[in-house]
């Protein structure tokens, strides 16, 4: 195994995450550390764009484990999340066996049994994210936007997450040697069942504070100057205080800084800010409200 040893405490994990470019606060580092040592899924909720999905990627990098991602949507079924038989290949296999027998001698009962067993061989099984994560243990499993899936899927997920085994009638039970590190994210478009939450560590992710946001911008976008990063972080924080329909997250702040940099801006002045506002504000009403404000109030200085 080429995996690095597990971090000894939350602070060590925070340092390791920082080295990958993800800057967690103390609570998030503790949450991730406990998820790792207690083998409990980590349930992350928070506004869109605060870095829920990015955490799973960073954790995979830190632990050296492969990342499997399951994007949830309404109507998601077991055959898309767990496994599916490759029916086409099974049929082909059957035809090939038939053709071989047609030319050869009469088939014995043993041959038939072998053919049947061969049909449900592992090579005809298509592993989907949940099965992949259990087979390739230890791994990191990201169940993204679990609030978008429906109740039926949630009940089914609960079953898999409670003992980390999947039983396939034709093949037997597949068990993870080490339970995967599971990260579930939710934007809270729907209340997830208590039964599922109870099995998880719950963490509500906030927007980062000013200094942390500047650090994140500097870290992820090294080409952006310190002063521009500070101005973008300051203006984003002020936008969050404006009671908008969709307050901008870290992801939007990064987009904004990237856009400003691409335009060759070194300072956030009202003119460039107005031109690039579409990267931070995604509602017409929000854009109009901000444009109506005196430009200096929002974008003047850091």
């Amino acid at each position: 195994m080429s995996q690095p040893p597990l971090p000894a405490d939350p602070a060590a994990l925070a340092d390791a995450l920082e080295s990958t470019g993800y800057l967690p606060d103390e609570g998030l580092a503790t949450a991730a550390y406990l998820a790792l040592v207690m083998h409990r899924p980590l349930f992350l909720e928070g506004e869109a764009g605060v870095g829920k999905t990015a955490l799973a990627r960073a954790l995979a990098e830190v632990t050296g484990r492969p990342l499997y991602r399951l994007q949830c949507y309404e109507g998601l079924e077991a055959s898309h999340a767990l496994y599916d038989w490759d029916f086409g290949r099974q049929l082909l296999h059957l035809r090939a066996a038939e053709a071989a027998h047609a030319t050869g001698d009469a088939q014995s009962p043993d041959d038939v049994a072998a053919l049947e067993a061969g049909l449900y061989d592992r090579r005809f099984l298509l592993a989907r994210p949940l099965l992949q994560a259990l087979e390739d243990s230890p791994s990191v499993l990201l169940v993204d936007e679990v609030d978008r899936a429906d109740d039926e899927f949630e009940a089914f997920l609960l079953e898999v997450l409670s003992d980390f085994t999947i039983s396939i009638p034709e093949l037997g039970t597949i068990r993870a040697e080490t339970p995967p590190l599971v990260v579930l994210t939710s934007n809270r478009t729907r209340e997830v069942h208590d039964a599922l939450k109870r099995r998880c560590l719950y963490h509500w992710l906030e927007h980062p504070d000013f200094e942390r946001e500047v650090a994140i911008l500097r870290r992820r976008l090294p080409e952006v100057t310190e002063s521009l990063a500070r101005q973008v972080a300051g203006a984003t924080a002020r936008l969050r205080g404006l009671d908008l329909l969709k307050p901008p997250g870290v992801a939007e702040a990064m987009d904004w800084a990237t856009a400003l940099h691409a335009l060759g801006a070194r300072e956030l002045d009202p003119d460039t800010a107005a031109r690039t506002l579409g990267t931070v504000l995604k509602y017409r009403e929000d854009g109009e409200r901000v444009k109506a404000l005196t430009a200096g109030a929002l974008f003047g200085g850091a």
Binding site: L34, G75, F87, E152, T189, L201, Y202, W204, L245
Partner: protein, 375 residues
């Protein structure tokens, strides 16, 4: 690997955590035994003498939603910081205010005196009662109507879902067809079909519980209870007054009177002023836009008396209309002869309303149930 190796005095820690869980439950966080066990497990992995570590160990395991976090912080400060426990957020909750909620309030000029002499025969009496304005009923009639309300079971509006179900017609379900062929020795003998399975569409009831609506609030909550009981998974109920309160959980209780008492004690602004615009904005910000109102049938029950400025209400109604599948406005006064929607709030809201119905009598509620189903 037991906690003994990590903790200096295991029993102390267990006792402390259990005591903290009790405090937390008193503050209104569920903190079930398995969550407490998880906290003990979490503490075992961290430094027990570090308050921040204990704080996070508890917060990550005992809380189940953003609403729990404030209560957790307060309980933590009180328990570990020696502060006097702060009262629950929302202030005056206290004991259930049963008396304020359970009886249908008598309307102006109560006629408690005349006993139900006009209920000569039961059947015709019910028929009359069905069309009477709930605001001017005698207590006995209310009692009778209450039983009729229990029979109301609004059917859910349906929508197609992405989930599929076997069906004799429709597109060919390839996986099932081939699976069957494998059973028949690799011969495709029959094509199997599937089609989209219909699912109940979400219904969101927003009930105005301000002073001007108080004669109707009880009946509306009873209607909401019937709706929640019929489709618990796809119905959400909120009350609007000076603030927004979610009462879905309380209304899931089977017994209507207990459910109403429970929701009554959850509503802090019963019979207060009206700021529908602001309450609606709070609903859209915290619930609606995230998903609760998306594609849903949203039913707003209010008389449109707005003290918070009709402009905000109009704005929020447009926003709601863009998110929802259909917006139904229930105004009890619409049942009165010669009613015109002239209040500023109504005028601002009407352009964004798909169905404008009355909600003053049982018959009107039956009609409303029909409107919701067909919406």
């Amino acid at each position: 690997m037991g906690p003994d190796h990590v903790l200096p005095r295991t029993r102390d820690v267990v006792g402390t955590v259990l005591g903290f869980a009790r405090t937390l439950r008193a503050a209104g966080v569920t903190a079930s035994p398995d969550r407490v066990e998880a906290m003990l497990g979490a503490v075992a992995h961290l430094d027990v003498l570090d308050p921040t570590a204990v704080y996070w160990a508890g917060r990550l395991t005992l809380c189940g939603g953003p609403d729990d976090l404030d209560r957790y912080d307060a309980a933590f400060a009180a328990y570990f910081g020696g502060e006097a426990p702060r009262p629950r957020r929302g202030g005056a909750t206290g004991p259930p205010r049963l008396a304020q909620v359970a009886p249908l309030r008598t309307g102006e000029g109560s006629r408690d005196g005349d006993e139900p002499a006009d209920l000569a025969t039961r059947a015709s009496g019910e028929e009359v009662l069905r069309h009477r304005d709930v605001a001017d009923l005698t207590p006995a009639e209310r009692e009778h109507l209450r039983r009729l309300f229990a029979l109301l079971a609004p059917a859910a509006p349906m929508r197609t879902s992405r989930r599929r179900t076997p069906s004799p017609a429709g597109p060919v379900h390839q996986a099932r067809t081939v699976r069957r062929a494998l059973r028949d020795g690799g011969e495709v003998t029959r094509l199997l079909h599937h089609r989209a399975r219909p699912r109940p569409r979400r219904v969101v009831l927003l009930i105005d519980v301000s002073g001007s609506m108080s004669p109707y609030a009880d009946a509306l909550l009873r209607f909401a209870h019937a709706a929640v009981r019929a489709r618990p998974a796809s119905t959400e109920v909120f009350t609007l007054g000076t603030r927004l309160t979610r009462v879905t959980r309380e209304l899931r209780l089977r017994d209507p009177d207990r459910a109403l008492a429970a929701s009554g004690s959850a509503i802090p602004d019963w019979s207060g002023g009206t700021r529908i615009g602001e309450a609606l904005k709070a609903f859209l910000d915290r619930w609606g836009q995230r998903g609760t109102a998306r594609g849903a049938v949203v039913v707003l029950c209010s008389d449109g008396w707005e003290r918070g400025g009709a402009e905000l209400l109009g704005e929020q109604m447009t926003r709601l209309h863009r998110l929802a599948h259909a917006v139904v406005w229930v105004n009890p006064h619409k049942g009165r002869v010669g009613y015109e929607p002239l209040t500023a709030g109504m005028v601002a809201a009407l352009p964004s309303v798909d169905h404008f119905v009355a909600g003053h009598s049982l018959a009107a509620f039956e009609e409303l149930a029909g409107v919701i189903t067909r919406a």
